[in-house]
Each structure stands twice: as C-alpha cells, then as structure tokens.
C-alpha cells in the first residue's frame, strides 16, 4: 500500500484500498473506481469531483514541533496523505562531528526536548559502551530514577496535548501544572528545567541534593493527584472515547514492520520494552510492569501512557529505597575531567584538565550501537570513533521517526479529517527528536 503522490490534476477519485475503510463511521467514502465510460445520464451516479487538498502545518497548533501533512480529502475522509518532516532539522549529527565528545552533551538535550535527560543518558551510554566501562552503581541508580522522572514528564506532555486538541483544555492545564512541579525537581537536580546537560561520560554531573527523595515523593503525590483527576475527566468520558476508540488502529505486524517501538508498539499488543528485554543500568533489579494494549488504537495508546506513568513512579520509589552511596562519576583521567580540587592544586590534574578540554577525550577507535527505552520507544545512538577527540559519526535512531512512516501508509488514509488530531497526538512526535 504505497501512497500515491498527490496529483493536483486528479480528475477522478480512486477507491481507497485501505482496510480501515470509513464504513465504520457510516460513511460511504470513495466513489466507485476505474469506470472509464461513465454514463452521465445516470441520475443516480455521483457527480465527477476532485479530491480536496488540505495542508496541515507546518505551523499549526496540533502539529507538535512542526510537521507538514498534506491530506487529500474526499468529503471528510482522508484518501491520501503526504507527511513532510524535517522542519526542525538542525544538523545534530553533523554538529557532533565538529565538537569534542563531551561537547555533544548539550546538543542531546535539544533532541527530545520534552525528556532531555533520556537523551543525555542515551548518548553517554553509547560512549561508555564503546569504552567498555561501567559507571558507578550510584550513578546507575540516579540515571534510572532521573530517566523515569523524565519519562513521566514526556507522557504528561503527550497526554496533555492529546486532550487539549480534542477540546479538553482543563486536563491540559492540569498535566502542565504537574509538569511544572516536576521541573522544579529537575532544576534542583540538574540546574535547568529543560537544557539539563546532566549526564557525563562516566556517570552524572552531580549527586542528588540533600532531601531530594522526600521532595520527589511529595511532588509525585501532587502530580499523580492531577493525573488521577484527568483520568477521571477523560478515560471514561463519552466524547473522549468516541474520538479515540477505534481511531488510528494499527496491528502488531504493521507496527513491527515499520520498526515502531515504545508505547505505540505496546498499544498493539506486543510486550516489548527494552528495560525488560535488554536491561541496562539497574533495571533488572526493578520490579515494574509493562502495560500492553490490545487494539492498537488511540485510546489504547492513551491508556498505555497513563499506566506507564504509574509504573515509572514505582521504579522511582524503588530506586530511592535501594540507592547505595558512592561516587557518581568515574575517576578515569582518560575521559573524565578531574575534580576541580585536583585541577587547582596539582600539575597532573591541571594538565589532565587542559588536554581533555583542548583536545577532547581520545576515545579509542571503533563503532558501537547503543539503545535505551526512551519515552517514545527505542532511542539508539550509533557512534563511530576514529581515535581522536571528536566523533567521526554520531547517528541517532529516533523512535518517533519510525512511527511517522506509518502515517501515510496506515494511519491516515481512510481516517476522517478530525481523526488527524487524536492520531497525531497519540504518536507523540517530538520535532527535535524526529528531525534532529
């Protein structure tokens, strides 16, 4: 089912071959196809007509992070759609090639800017994998709990946007207020709300502040109170269900064929989560469940994300309970900046600092693919080192990019124009991550 290029000269409407025909909505949809000799005296036949082309985006309130979708409509049904991504392409991969390894970290914040910590950790993990070093155990716990906090924030945004675009402004504000509370925590931990730059090759930048666990628990109580409120407002809401149930369906086979991962894949029934399938850090010590849907529609994706937030909270609680003491950053002069006290009081520390800053950490030549479960799915970093202080190649495998492929083939054709909103909201495309 390859989408045809929209043809302005289309004089006839061709029958949609999409399995998810709009009949479910009680609408006849496309006209009969291919009859070359149409009897114009047949008063019962429809008038010849053209598809209406509507351009959605790139600047559009529902197009999170700029994407352009050209839809060809037959009435209100989408016959064809053409998605254009790349409006937020900033050359992340190329930029990384001209800076040192450690200098790539702030760039990763700007990938999935809704959950920047997950990107930080993903990149650091890739370099550590290439170096074949393991970060201290305390750093692993911190990365796990910071990842889960970031995941909660990401899902808050995804659910908030979906709700608002369907008309529910209140849940949006509730979720965003929850996000504000979480930002206070993140700011306390990393120094910034969004541009965290928290990971370092070899661990994390600084330790948890005193009392962080207590404050986090208090914040999570408030946040989940808000989530519960929105849950009550929406999950059994007639209008919400009508607009999301059965909309944007995808089967497990289709999802796997497109390389889709994350909540989207799990909503189709595939219980694949990298934290369980290929555990990293201390996820194998954590007790949590992976919510799995069954219908693969927008409603299931909503439910999966809502439940994942609860599971993330469980992980955060366990991490706080089990976190051991110790350093949060490796002490390895080959690629970790020495502690400032050493830099100012010893020539070795100073020379070490000097060479790492001027030349960058000399990562031994080689290539590696490293993956982690980000909020949208498998976030991969394929890095190639040529032995110098700058990456030779830093490729990002973006989870929502794979999902975007499915729009033109599976998700939109056959759907109604108004379904664009819940479907696109449930994809949770983040421009920074999709376009890099």
């Amino acid at each position: 089912m390859t989408p045809a290029v929209l043809n302005k000269e289309d004089a006839t409407v061709t029958h949609s071959t999409n399995a998810h025909a709009p009949e479910a909505h009680g609408h006849q949809g496309a006209l009969a196809s291919g009859d070359e000799a149409r009897d114009l005296t047949d008063l019962a036949a429809d008038l010849p007509s053209r598809l209406m082309e509507v351009n959605i985006g790139p600047s559009h309130p529902a197009m999170h992070g700029t994407v352009r979708i050209k839809v060809a409509l037959d009435g209100e049904s989408i016959v064809r759609s053409t998605t254009e991504v790349g409006f937020l392409h900033r050359g992340f991969e190329k930029e990384c090639e001209s800076v040192h390894w450690a200098q790539c970290m702030p760039y990763t914040d700007r990938l999935n800017y809704v959950s920047p910590l997950l990107n930080n950790f993903g990149f650091a993990q890739a370099v550590e994998k290439l170096l074949e070093v393991e970060i201290p155990i305390r750093a692993q716990y911190i990365r796990v709990l910071a990842s889960e906090l970031s995941r909660i924030i990401d899902h808050l945004v995804a659910c908030a946007a979906m709700a608002m675009e369907l008309g529910g402004f209140t849940p949006f504000l509730y979720f965003v207020e929850g996000r504000e509370f979480m930002f206070d925590l993140i700011e306390e931990l990393t120094g910034a709300r969004v541009t965290c730059n928290y990971a370092r090759i070899g661990g994390v930048a600084q330790d948890l502040p005193d009392g962080f666990a207590e404050r986090t628990r208090a914040v999570l109580v408030k946040v989940f109170a808000l989530i519960d409120d929105c849950d009550k407002l929406l999950t059994r809401n007639r209008i919400f269900i009508d607009r999301t149930n059965g909309v944007g369906k995808m089967t497990a086979e289709q999802a796997i064929a497109y390389g889709i991962t994350g909540p989207f894949l799990r909503s189709t029934g595939v219980a694949h989560d990298l934290r369980k399938a290929h555990p990293y850090y201390v996820y194998d010590r954590m007790d949590f469940e992976v919510p799995v849907g069954s219908n693969g529609d927008c409603y299931d994706r909503w439910l999966v994300r809502m439940e994942e937030m609860h599971q993330s909270r469980r992980i955060v609680e366990q991490a706080f309970a089990e976190i051991p003491g110790g350093p949060v950053l490796l002490h390895d002069p080959r690629f970790v900046l020495p502690p400032k006290s050493e830099v100012t009081t010893s020539i070795e520390g100073l020379m070490n600092h000097f060479k790492l800053i001027i030349e960058g950490a000399q990562i031994p030549a080689g290539e590696i693919y490293s993956y982690s479960e980000a909020a949208n799915g498998e976030l991969g970093f394929f890095i190639v080192s040529d032995g110098t202080g700058k990456p030779y190649k830093c490729r990002v495998r973006s989870p929502c990019f794979s999902t975007m492929q499915a729009i033109d083939d599976v998700l939109f054709p056959g759907a109604m124009l108004s379904d664009v909103v819940p479907i696109f909201g449930s994809i949770n495309m983040i421009g920074g991550e999709c376009d890099r």
């Binding site: 020495p338 010893s346 020539i347 070795e348 020379m351 070490n352 000097f354 060479k355």
Partner: protein
C-alpha cells in the same frame, strides 16, 4: 653485500646502523614506535638523565635507557611491557614532583611534552601538595631574547648541550646541585649568542621561552604553514605560525641539507617585517601632494597612461626589482621590463651584506639574489647598479620608473630621487618610502603570503607557501605586472605561479 643488522622492537624487525641507539632505530620502525623522552635529541650528545625512555631488553637484568643503549644484532626490545609502563608512570610522576601549576600562564601549553606524555604515559594523581613543592626563581631573563623559569625546568640539559655543541659557545650551564640545581649563565654574562632562541625550541617544557613571543598567542590558535626565511641567502626552511593575517613567530623546519633543525635569531625575528604597515589598497599621488588610497583599477589605468606616454622614445623608463622577489616574479618583471617598457636601466635593490658565521648565516642578506640574477640573465637583461640607476634618474635621462618590491635598504634613496618623476610606479607590500613617493602604488603581497621559489646561496631552489590570504585589493606582484604588460600590448598569458614555473623550467627563448 651483507644484510643490515636487525633488532626486534615490539615484535617488529628494524634495521639499524652500527652504533645507533634503540630510540633512534625505533623512530624508523614501521608504524613509528614512540618512546617517550625529554633529554635525548637526535642532533645533540646523549645525556640519559631524564630516564623517561627506559625500555625492557630481553635478558637484561634492569630496564635500560633507549637513548643510550646501542642496538645489537638480535636484540629484543619491549617498549610497552608492564615493567616499562610502570617505570614510565613513576618517572613522569617524579619529573612532576616540583613542577609548578603554571599551565594557564605558560607559553608552552599546547605544545608541551609534559602535557602530552602525561596523557599517554602517566594518567596518575599527584602525591605532593602545592605547598610541598620546591620554589625556585621564575621569569628570569637569561639574555635579550630568552626567558628562564627554574621551577618548570626538568634539567634535561638540552639547552646546555645545544650551546656547547651546536652554537659552539658554552654560555649556559647547570648550577648548584640536587633540589637547587638550575640553568644559568656565567656570572656577569648573558645568553646573547646569535642562535640563542634555538634553546627555546629544544626545551621540551616551558622553562625556556621566547621573550619576543611571550604571552602573544596561545599556540593552538595559530595556523602553521611551511615557508622559507628571507633574512639571508641561506634559505632556511621555516614554519610560519600565523593567525588572522598576522605572523606571530617563525620556527625552524627540519631540512637535513640546509638548516638541520636550527634557525638564527636574526632570521627568526624577520617575522615582524611581514606585519609592518602592509598595504591593502592602491595609492596615488598627484603633483606634490601625499599618497592617497584609491581604487586599484584607477591606479592601474593611471600607471598604464603614465608609461604609455613615455614609450615613444625607447630607454626612457628605468626599472628596479627587490631581491625578495621570487623567481616567478623576476621572470614576469623581466619580460614586462624588456618587452613592454623597453627599459635599458634595470637594477636590483638589496639589503647590504651583514654578518656571516660558520653555522647558518650567510653574508648576503637577500633571499633570492641568485634566482633573480639567473632569471634576468637568461632573459638577456643587463643589470646596472642601483647607483647608476639613481644617477640616471637624477640626470633626467629617465622619465619613468617601475620599482617592484620594497624590501631594500635603498628604498629611501630611490624614492627621493624619483619623487619628482611623474611616471614613478611602485608595486610593493608595505607603506615604505617608495609607496609614499610613487605616483602610483599597487599593493602586492608580503613574502609570507607569496607562492613562488627562491634560490639560496648554494643554488638550491626552494618553495614558499602562503600563510594567509591577501586582504583588500592586494594581489601578487606578477599579476599586477602581467596586467600592466597586457595594457601596454604584451600578453604573457601566465595565469598562475605553476604556469610561470613551467616556462622557467623550459629552455629560454633567445632574447629578442
């Protein structure tokens, strides 16, 4: 012929010459085995005092210094074994025990062997507190050009050995012993040898630094270009370190045949000439007014007009070329002067002879006398003395003058003599007396911006490379000359230096 003797280093067979030491053989091994060292220098005697080059030799009871141990047939050497690595860590730590925490204020940062070797061979933490370090004298001028910092010195004695063995005058020595040892000059004497700045090159740390370069630039900001020194006819090979159109220093470039690894102070300090009042705009002068900037195209037109008016009578135009000109510039100059301007009074302008020595310096302080004379001679141009040229100007016999290049001590004299001339055209790179007095001045490139060749006192042709691009309307002299020639009816059609070189390398056509 007997096969060359071989030893094995890290599993690789390496051929060696009799008497050669391990460290020298290792640098020639396939894949170039780097053995860290401080006191060894391939052109100085062996001191073996830093102990950084210790390597493991099979069947030897202890580690041996690779800089002192001679290669033997069948010797098996390991440079990366655990024992060697442990030794390198310890020795480097010991070298740093009293080293001051100076990197932010040390000129050597970025090209310091201690920094490089720390990352490659030590990677350890210090066990000395800063207040426990031995304090010595800092920033002590040893002479007019060299600054010494005793705390940074690791007493490798490379500087002492250089002065003794290469410079030939033992102006430096090690004073006191143990913790108090330091480098110094004889009481009442200073390091004033004409080759003193070479000790800054050989010093592996920031102990000896150039006062001229002190604090001017961080070395990683500088762009390095190979070129030639224009201080005398030796044609020493150099590296030009420049940034954004300014030259900051010159360093010797190794050339076994010409200058080995050395440069004289005089030549090193010619870097400043390249920065002096460079011209980027054309100048024009009307009657007795001052030279004012103008568009190059306007200046070119004027120059053409001025010469055209004098061409009716042959021999009214004189010409002069500075001996800094490249062979390619000399060729184009010669063709224009002979075939377009029909000049009969052609002189070369130079700097007077200076000191020569048994090391590098040659008395002729002009880089390309041999080249210019050879090229002009092959074009059949007879060179007159600058005296004769000035006389002919002052007598009124010459009514026009083309001077290419400002690098001469006679700039003032020629400029004054020709100031009254209407058709005085100058192509030069700096705002010299010639540029101030010429009717038209076209801006050309300094030698550091030029591409071309010079022939040195031994007859060796060597190349210059541009270190940075011209600014404003400055262009190579050979381009101005060709356009002038074309405007006067002579089209040479040599678009670049390679094309001119190709002509120079062909047998010359007979003089017309």
């Amino acid at each position: 012929m007997a096969p060359a003797p071989t030893l094995t280093i890290d599993g690789k067979p390496v051929e060696f010459a009799p008497g050669e030491v391990i460290i020298s053989a290792a640098s020639r091994a396939a894949g170039k085995i780097e053995i860290p060292h401080y006191c060894w220098h391939k052109r100085l005697s062996i001191a073996a005092n830093c102990r950084m080059c210790l390597v493991e030799v099979e069947k030897a009871p202890k580690l041996v210094p690779a800089c002192q141990t001679e290669c033997k047939e069948g010797m098996v050497v390991f440079t990366k074994s655990d024992k060697v690595k442990a030794a390198q860590r310890s020795i480097h730590e010991l070298l740093l025990v009293n080293h001051p925490i100076d990197c932010p204020i040390c000129d050597q940062a970025g090209e310091c062997k201690l920094q490089d070797n720390y990352m490659l061979f030590q990677l350890g933490q210090s066990r000395v507190r800063p207040e426990g370090k031995v304090r010595k004298s800092k920033r002590t001028p040893l002479g007019p050009y060299v600054m010494y910092d005793a705390e940074r010195c690791i007493l490798c004695t490379r500087c002492v050995r250089f002065m003794d063995e290469v410079a030939g005058e033992r102006q430096l020595g090690v004073y006191a012993r143990g913790d108090r040892a330091h480098i110094g000059t004889f009481p009442g004497a200073e390091l004033n040898h004409p080759y003193s700045l070479n000790v800054v090159d050989v010093c592996p740390v920031g102990a000896l630094t150039s006062q001229v370069f002190r604090f001017k630039q961080r070395v990683w900001n500088l762009k390095r270009t190979p070129s030639l020194c224009g201080g005398c006819a030796r044609g020493c090979n150099i590296w030009v370190d420049a940034r954004e159109g300014m030259v900051y220093r010159l360093l010797p470039r190794e050339n076994e045949a010409v200058n080995k690894s050395w440069l004289c102070d005089e030549g090193r300090l010619t870097y400043a000439r390249a920065n002096d009042s460079r011209l980027s705009r054309a100048l024009m002068r009307t009657a007795s007014g001052p030279a004012e900037p103008c568009l190059a195209s306007t200046a070119q037109k004027r120059a053409t007009e001025l010469f055209e008016s004098l061409l009716a009578e042959k021999g009214r135009i004189g010409a002069a070329l500075s001996l800094h000109a490249t062979n390619e510039q000399a060729y184009v100059f010669g063709r224009i002067v002979r075939d377009a301007l029909h000049a009969e009074a052609v002189a070369v302008l130079d700097y007077p002879n200076g000191t020569a020595d048994r090391l590098l310096r040659v008395a002729d302080k002009n880089p390309n006398r041999a080249g210019v004379q050879s090229v002009l001679g092959s074009l059949g141009i007879k060179i007159v003395s600058s005296e004769a040229l000035v006389q002919r100007i002052e007598s009124g016999e010459l009514r026009g003058l083309l001077v290419v290049g400002h690098e001469t001590s006679e700039a003032g004299r020629v400029a004054s003599a020709a100031a009254a001339m209407l058709a005085f055209v100058h192509i030069g790179a700096a705002r010299s007396a010639l540029a101030e007095r010429a009717s038209v001045t076209l801006p050309s490139l300094a030698w550091v911006q030029s591409e071309g060749t010079w022939v040195n006192a031994d007859g060796v042709t060597q190349s210059l490379s541009p270190a940075f691009a011209p600014s404003g309307e400055a262009r190579p002299a050979e381009e101005w000359l060709q356009e002038l020639g074309a405007a006067l009816g002579l089209s040479l059609g040599l678009p670049n230096v390679s094309a001119i070189r190709a002509v120079l390398e062909r047998p010359q056509p007979e003089a017309r």
